[in-house]
């Protein structure tokens, strides 16, 4: 149990450091780092506060606190991944609309140039 909590603490700190480093290097935007910060801080809190972990395990009806920790970790990361899926979907929609708009503007620009060349 203690080893698992220490490992979780280490992973949480590593995740926090990675996110901070990525923001500093502008590899990740601040608005997209919030979910990761939330997940890492939650894990850090649970791993350093066993009483809270025991209480949560009781709420979920899981007799084994380490199992509850794994369950919570999985749930948190699923939520983060779902949020990323939503963001990716929005970005894809925006990309498609922009690509179509660029193509249409290029087409109309070429038409205008063609008309001017004909008139000139």
């Amino acid at each position: 149990m203690e080893e698992l909590l220490d490992f979780t603490t280490g992973m949480s700190l590593a995740l926090l450091a990675l996110v901070l480093f990525s923001i500093r290097r502008q590899h990740i935007r601040v608005e997209y780092s919030v979910s990761w910060f939330g997940a890492a801080l939650s894990l850090l809190l649970l791993s350093r506060w066993p009483a809270a972990l025991h209480r949560l395990a009781g709420w979920f009806g899981i007799g084994n606190p380490p199992l509850a920790l794994v369950f919570i970790v999985g749930t948190l990361f699923l939520l983060v991944l779902f949020r990323l899926s939503v963001i990716i979907s929005d970005l894809k929609d925006a990309n498609i609309a922009l690509t179509q708009r660029v193509a249409i503007l290029e087409y109309r620009l070429e038409s205008v140039h063609g008309q001017k060349a004909t008139q000139g």
């Binding site: 990309n95 498609i96 690509t99 179509q100 193509a103 249409i104 290029e106 087409y107």
Partner: protein, 240 residues
């Protein structure tokens, strides 16, 4: 009105890496409908599709990034809507659709009062060679769509379709992007629009090979099924 008398009609031809076929497709359309406006939508092909289409006499809408079939077709619909076309007929860039069927679709568009006309391979005893999986998929979607559309549809996967300006307005804003044919029917149903099927011929590809495999067909069925039900759910929520 253009030389062929096809007033305010645009033929759109989505094409991706179809340099071997698209020129003949455009020339055949021009033979059947001299003077009609033809727009090839080049979906960021890696070959000379755009240049071949231009040489054959089509105008070309070149997408700067590969969007897939639905994105390419929607780009054509958007441009057609902005340019004020009343009718748009889509035919594939691989030459499987016979341009001699375009006038029939156009007449149905003008006279039927329907917003969408589907060129169907399976009407009037016509048959088209399809793979076993694809054939099963078509039968399956006929069965799925029957209660949703409130009427049977013989060829729900046909890409040989004509739309009028009402449908054009809807599709320029909302169009399924990956496998558009079946979901587009549901999108129209949400608007209480009507469709009609007219018989058409299906030919072998003029060049190249189909990229549809058994695995892709199965993925297609699952993807489209999900898309159909998502669209139905959207409709229910909107009505409430």
């Amino acid at each position: 009105m253009n030389a062929a008398g096809f007033d305010s009609l645009l033929i759109i031809v989505p094409a991706y890496n179809e340099e071997a076929a698209v020129g003949q497709v455009v020339e055949e359309i021009r033979q059947v409908l001299p003077g009609v406006d033809i727009l090839v939508i080049d979906d960021c092909s890696l070959d000379q599709t755009a240049a071949v289409a231009r040489r054959a006499g089509a105008r070309v809408l070149s997408l700067p990034y590969h969007l897939g079939l639905g994105g390419a077709v929607q780009a054509g619909y958007k441009l057609a809507y902005e340019l004020g076309y009343e009718y748009v007929i889509r035919t594939d860039g691989d030459g499987q659709h016979d341009p001699r069927d375009i006038p029939r679709i156009y007449e149905a568009l003008r006279n039927s009062g329907c917003q969408m006309i589907i060129g169907s391979r399976f009407l009037e005893g016509n048959s088209a060679p399809t793979s076993l999986v694809r054939g099963l998929g078509i039968r399956f979607f006929r069965w799925v769509l029957r209660p949703i559309l409130g009427r049977p549809v013989r060829d729900p996967t046909s890409g040989f379709v004509g739309v009028n300006r009402e449908a054009l307005q809807v599709f320029s804003k909302s169009f399924p992007l990956e496998y558009p044919e079946i979901e587009a029917l549901v999108v129209l149903q949400r608007r209480r629009f009507r469709f009609l099927e007219v018989p058409c011929r299906m030919r072998p590809r003029l060049a190249g090979r189909s990229t549809i495999t058994v695995l892709k067909s199965l993925y297609y069925i699952i993807h489209v099924l999900l898309g159909v039900f998502v669209n139905v759910l959207k409709y229910e929520r909107r009505r409430r």
